[in-house]
């Protein structure tokens, strides 16, 4: 069990003050890889080496590993809940896990499962800053690696980190790593991957996960955790296009705040400041931001993902589902949507001519499926233009006609105002995730 006591790492001593422990920012990443590539082991290793697990959990892992006669503690046991589930045959689902270092808090969306992988991967990647793709060094780039990368880029995940795992089983050979890197880079060049990094690791032995591997002196990059800690994500957020979907109107019916009227919401993109000229949609009226309020007092600017309350200089009729933006930088106002969708419902398929409820930012409307342009085969990226229905885990390009105008941007420029869900009006189930690819028509 020597591996466990090594526990080096960045998560400093217990004497740190609270301020140092929680002062970092938040990074969300989604993991993907084929079964047995080592995802659970890698996550277990990150949790263990960052000391995010309790003593009792660790002891049981060590005990079970010892009982099985393993040389190493099987860190995948830390995420065992999923394995039990697999045995019982329950639908494998996205699981969320947490760990923190003094620099950052990490939220991991663990997206396992082969059959449900598209739905899981789309869910996990939808909010991820980073996609972590695992590749077994012995197997190299496989079909699944391509699919996962395709989905990550489709969902607009700005950073992709490819962990070439099980390097211990290929004698830590630089050639093996370089060959995989070259092949993957070639394939990724056809996708939209803004930032691509490769790291050779052994999740089991800990090489290049938290500490630099002594077995791979030839690798001059950072170990995974330092890479994740240092990854610059601030510039990924769209700070240019002001989009503030109104979520709720705060109008206290109280004597102490009778004249207050504020528009509560989460800044979707852009930076808002008091004094800025703004345009309210769909009213089409211009006014000025009088104040940006929070419970802790007014702030001099608001940026994503702050939740604030905006007060405007003029009385305009604004309600939930409306959008505040800049007069010279407005989203497209349209009832015709062209989008890429991922179908997520097992009990019914998407069919042309059917109506669904649609939720886009804070606005609900109804949408008619005008046309299924084509279905995309996620394995081959082949387009089937004769498809008439879209089933669970299938992707398609469709056109919708919406009952009310939506205020949209292309998903590739705005992950908030470019996204929507479809809901079955009979069952109320969320049946699809949609990414807007440039509005079909605008006025």
């Amino acid at each position: 069990m020597t591996v466990l006591t090594e526990g080096a790492g960045e998560a400093g001593p217990a004497s740190e003050t609270h301020a140092e422990i929680v002062s970092g920012d938040l990074l969300r990443f989604a993991t993907a890889g084929s079964v047995d590539d080592g995802k659970s082991t890698l996550i277990g290793r990150l949790l263990f080496d960052s000391k995010s697990i309790f003593a009792d959990q660790l002891e049981s892992v060590e005990q079970v590993s010892k009982d099985r006669g393993n040389d190493y503690a099987d860190l995948s046991l830390l995420t065992d809940g999923l394995r039990a589930e697999r045995e019982q045959g329950i639908t494998i689902d996205v699981a969320y896990r947490y760990f923190a270092t003094p620099k950052r808090k990490f939220i991991i969306a663990d997206t396992p499962g082969h059959t449900q992988y598209t739905r899981n991967m789309v869910t996990g990647a939808s909010t991820a800053d980073v996609a972590l793709i695992l590749i077994d060094a012995r197997k190299g780039v496989v079909e699944q690696s391509r699919r996962h990368t395709f989905l990550a880029t489709l969902l607009g995940v700005p950073h992709v980190v490819v962990c070439v795992n099980k390097m211990d089983l290929v004698d830590y050979d630089e050639q093996v790593f370089e060959k995989i890197r070259a092949e993957f880079t070639e394939f990724a060049s056809r996708l939209r991957v803004p930032d691509l990094t490769f790291i050779p690791v052994s999740a089991l032995a800990g090489d290049n996960v938290v500490t630099r591997s002594e077995n791979m002196e030839w690798f001059d990059g950072s170990p995974l955790l330092s890479h994740l800690e240092r990854l610059h994500v601030a510039s990924d957020r769209n700070l240019v296009d002001v989009r503030f979907p109104v979520q709720y109107v705060i109008r206290p019916q109280q004597n102490d705040a009778r004249d207050y009227r504020g528009y509560a919401g989460t800044v979707a993109s852009g930076v808002m400041k008091p004094g800025d000229r703004v345009l309210a949609l769909p009213a089409g009226l211009e006014t000025t931001i009088e104040s940006i309020d929070t419970a802790d007092g007014p702030v001099d600017e608001a940026y994503p993902p702050m939740s604030v309350t905006v007060r405007l200089a003029d009385e305009i009729d604004i309600s939930r589902g409306d959008m505040i933006c800049r007069p010279n930088n407005a989203p497209t106002v349209t009832q015709d949507i062209d989008a890429q969708i991922c179908w997520m419902d097992e009990s019914a398929s998407l069919v042309q001519g059917k109506k669904y409820a649609i939720k886009h930012t804070t606005r609900w409307a109804r949408a008619l499926v005008k046309n299924i342009n084509y279905r995309v085969d996620v394995n081959t990226l082949h387009r089937d233009e004769d498809a008439t229905e879209i089933k669970l885990n299938e992707m398609a390009r469709i056109r919708l006609r919406v009952t009310q105008p939506l205020f949209v941007d292309a998903y590739q420029t705005n992950r908030q105002t470019g996204a929507f869900i479809l809901v079955d009006e009979a069952t109320n189930k969320t049946v699809a995730a949609g990414m807007i690819g440039g509005a079909a028509h605008q006025y």
Binding site: D56, E62, A295
Partner: protein
């Protein structure tokens, strides 16, 4: 130039506020389940912030087991007084008297709270109940949705949960169905404590260490009081202890601790999380208590 990056606590806060506003905007009659424990108090604090300067636009419900620490009730009443929030009390004692539920042999009223809760929710027509559950509590909770759908019997069907993509939550329900909403899903125990400290949130003083007269029973420390009086042959001792959990007063144990201020507690929680193998027995106990803690704190 400013960095335009929120710290983790402010990101979590913003997300929770977003979730609460979404629920109030879309659901007809939300309600916040308030146990008097730290997680439900943090939720209420977030609700106050989400709707300021207006009052919290939904009631809070306390499922009163009749086995409360007085300081927890006092703290609850201070919150009600200070925020003007409407308080609904659902009494377990009264439900026992009516025969809706029966006392469990071990004296725990933890499980029999559920029917009382469901009955009260139905009576008041609540279609969304905020709960303080967090995904870091147990492996099994790691996949819980933020909006967790319940059928018209209030039951949870793991196979019938809605995918949650981006922050586009779907709270649509038919008559009689409801959702449980977990605004603290992405918080860890350490985040909660760091936030309590940063915001100086009013908690029952049970959470802070002081000298208490305690008796040890099967490795657990119980304060000597009217709920857990000294039995024949037992001896009490005075130790510096605090509670990590607020459950039924007759069954909740405290742990040895010197953490007398919020900062001390944050440091203690951080240290416990960082405990490596070879920890002392005392630390193991803390860890076990933490697990128990979690089970008790969640109403569901």
């Amino acid at each position: 130039m400013k960095s335009h990056v929120l710290t983790q606590l402010r990101s979590l806060e913003a997300e929770s506020v977003h979730i609460m506003r979404e629920v109030v905007a879309e659901m007809e009659r939300p309600c916040l389940l308030f146990s008097g424990g730290k997680d439900s108090i943090v939720m209420l604090h977030l609700a106050v912030k989400a709707f300021a300067p207006a009052r919290v636009p939904f009631p809070i419900m306390h499922v009163d087991t009749g086995l409360n620490f007085q300081t927890v009730l006092d703290c609850r009443d201070r919150w009600v007084e200070r925020t003007g929030v409407q308080l609904v009390v659902a009494s377990v004692q009264e439900a026992i008297d009516r025969g809706l539920v029966q006392e469990e042999p071990n004296g725990s009223r933890n499980r029999i709270q559920t029917p009382v809760l469901l009955e009260a929710a139905e009576k008041h027509g609540f279609d969304a109940l905020f709960g303080g559950g967090r995904r870091d509590e147990e492996k099994a909770r790691a996949k819980e949705r933020v909006f967790s759908f319940r059928d018209d019997f209030g039951q949870w069907d793991p196979k019938n949960q809605r995918p949650e993509i981006w922050n586009l939550y779907n709270g649509r329900v038919h008559q009689g169905e409801s959702i449980r909403v977990f605004p603290l899903s992405n918080w860890t125990e350490l985040d909660i404590w760091a936030y309590i400290e940063a915001e100086n949130i009013d908690l029952p003083d049970l959470y802070l260490a002081k000298d208490r007269e305690v008796v040890e029973r099967s490795g657990m420390l119980y304060e000597v009081n009217e709920f857990t009086p000294l039995k024949d042959g037992e001896t009490a001792q005075v130790l510096s202890t605090r509670y990590r959990t607020v459950g039924d007063a007759n069954l909740t144990a405290c742990v040895e601790s010197k953490a007398a201020t919020l900062i001390d507690v944050v440091e203690e929680v951080a240290a416990v999380r960082l405990t490596e193998r070879g920890a002392t027995r005392g630390d193991d106990k803390v860890s076990e208590a933490a697990m128990e803690d979690r089970k008790k704190e969640g109403y569901f």
